[in-house]
Symmetry: C2
Subunit: 91 residues, 2 copies
DNA sequence: ATATAATTTAGATATATATCTAAATATCTA
DNA sequence: TAGATATTTAGATATATATCTAAATTATAT
């Protein structure tokens, strides 16, 4: 599990949150993600890298394409961690 | 309610999360917050400003000091918003 | 009114990051 | 194997931000 700094930082960008929103519905290749965003493929690739380094998504190669999907278990753990952090008077 | 970008961005800094952690226990003046962090007062003031602009904390003057406290209702709303965002297949 | 204490503001610097174009890499197909 | 498609990497730029020192502001106390 990456540190919260990395997680929050990854989630602070609008385009990256859109990517996560897309991947919540279904996994998809980079080009398909790209059709929903107004950025170049290079920039998209950078954002995917940020999300990967935050362990929020994973990519697997399928022929020519790389299919990205949400790391559901990590997202679940993170949600709990964030809830705990935001809960007043925790600990 | 500020946009999620501003919220996540505010929460992405370790020192700001420490400030929030402190304010979860009780409200306190800037100097007291400062004793728990290894940064100058100027830097602390900047971080408080970021947290204020994200609507996460508020300051009220009490004599010479400004007492900061967590915006509990906003934090509650935000928690729900974040949970919703991170929930797979939402909407 | 002056000195002290608490906080913020101004200005500077160094690092991070969002974006782009162009080039490189990987895979498939004819 | 040559060409086409999908994705990433390299390199550049512009903006944001975390931090500091020094100065300004606000309130209290003498």
């Amino acid at each position: 599990m990456p540190p919260l700094s990395k997680t929050f930082s990854a989630l602070s960008d609008e385009n990256r949150r859109k990517i996560i929103d897309l991947l919540k519905k279904k996994e998809m290749p980079v080009t398909e993600i790209g059709t929903h965003l107004k950025i170049t493929m290079a920039t998209l690739s950078h954002h995917l890298d940020v999300l990967k380094r935050a362990d929020l998504v994973s990519g697997r190669r399928d022929g020519q394409q790389i299919i990205y999907s949400l790391n559901l278990s990590v997202v679940q753990e993170l949600t709990e961690k964030i809830i705990k952090f935001l809960k007043p008077k925790h600990k």
